[in-house]
Amino acid sequence: MDFSSITGSTSFLLQGAAYTFELTATSAIGAIILGTFLALGKMAKSRVLSLLCSGYINLMRAVPLVLILFWFFFLVPVFIAWFTGSPIPVPVGPEKTALITFILFEAAYYAEIIRAGIQSISRGQLYASSALGLSFGQTMRYVILPQAFRNMGPVLLTQTIVLFQDTSLVYVLSATDFMGAVSKIAQRDSQLTLMYCFAAVCYFVVSFTLSTGVKQMQKKLAIIR
């Protein structure tokens, strides 16, 4: 078999892979932060805030990622223009669009995980903290969130692996992530089968390594508990 399409384009493929990792990492971090606020907002006493947050979460969870990618691809430039008062849409490029989309989209998923994590901490812990005189903020900061994030660790990581695989969809925006690089070479060289099998192997190796890591982590957590 002729592997020159792979061997001859390593730097291009590596660039794509680097972008995939960068996109996964940055959007995971951004989405977890935003997701925490969404989760707290959804659990807030204020009905308006709670409805707003759960509305956002439900909307994002009801529409396919591909469609949301298409949406943001057109909307973001218009939005930024509107925001900065520019008369013409401000181009941001598919890479940045993808980042924004993924943060906004995945935040909805992380929010639900984080909410479940917080709610899995028994009410007794809340009572105990209050009984010691800790304020609500202190209770969250020192008692509930540290436990919640520890419990959620594996689930958050699993969701991040899903995110890692989902980033392959940005190639519909012709952004050059790993999948984008693969499919561009596949088309240029008419090597579809080779290149897609190659992609499958690469994604498998990375995801499998990560999910094995998650399993180890779960075992460790199980011992502590």
Partner: protein, 251 residues
Amino acid sequence: MTVNENEAPMIDIRNVSKWYGSFQVLKNCSTSVRKGEVVVVCGPSGSGKSTLIKTVNGLEPVQQGTILVNGVEVTNPKTNLTRLRSHVGMVFQHFELFPHLSIRENLVLAQMKVLKRNREEATKKGLALLDRVGLLKQAEKYPGQLSGGQQQRVAIARALAMDPICMLFDEPTSALDPEMINEVLDVMVELAQEGMTMMVVTHEMGFARKVADRVIFVEGGEILEDSPKDEFFEHPKSERTQHFLSKILSH
């Protein structure tokens, strides 16, 4: 225990009623605990004992009635509950130690964050109390590494570290294996004998006999009996109390 009858009570519960939705958990409950007094609350499961004791430091809000702790009105929305709670120790059925913190950190956290003690002072106080409950050696362990009885003793030490003016106990021994119940009761008996004001929900009638000043019997959200210990055990007023005692004391 001598109790000064003229002093204002430490805990004063007046005509308290509480509903969960349309279900009334507490029905016009009134009682009080004087300084240095030990009051045991008993009654069948689901009768509202836990709810009653949680209303004392405002963990459960009430819809009707007034509760005063050391003269501070818990039921007044303007009261700084956080501050009040730091002076009222509470021990729960399931210990509720913070599992992600070591025993030492469990004892230190609230002292530092609430009473603003510095770490050194807080640690010193915490370890002294840990010693008192016989667990100084376990300071660096995590709650999950201790037995239930040990955890509950740490929980008592944690509450004591806040220099409480009174202590609330919600079935402190009912989640424990039979052999561990006594190590916890011993600590509580000692506390009572030192003059701590205590309100204790428990089924341990041996404990009540030994240290309680008064026993309260709750059923269906109502306080059916509130008598001095001896009277309670020798001549219970209501038939229901008699029935309950017979159920719980036979075999």
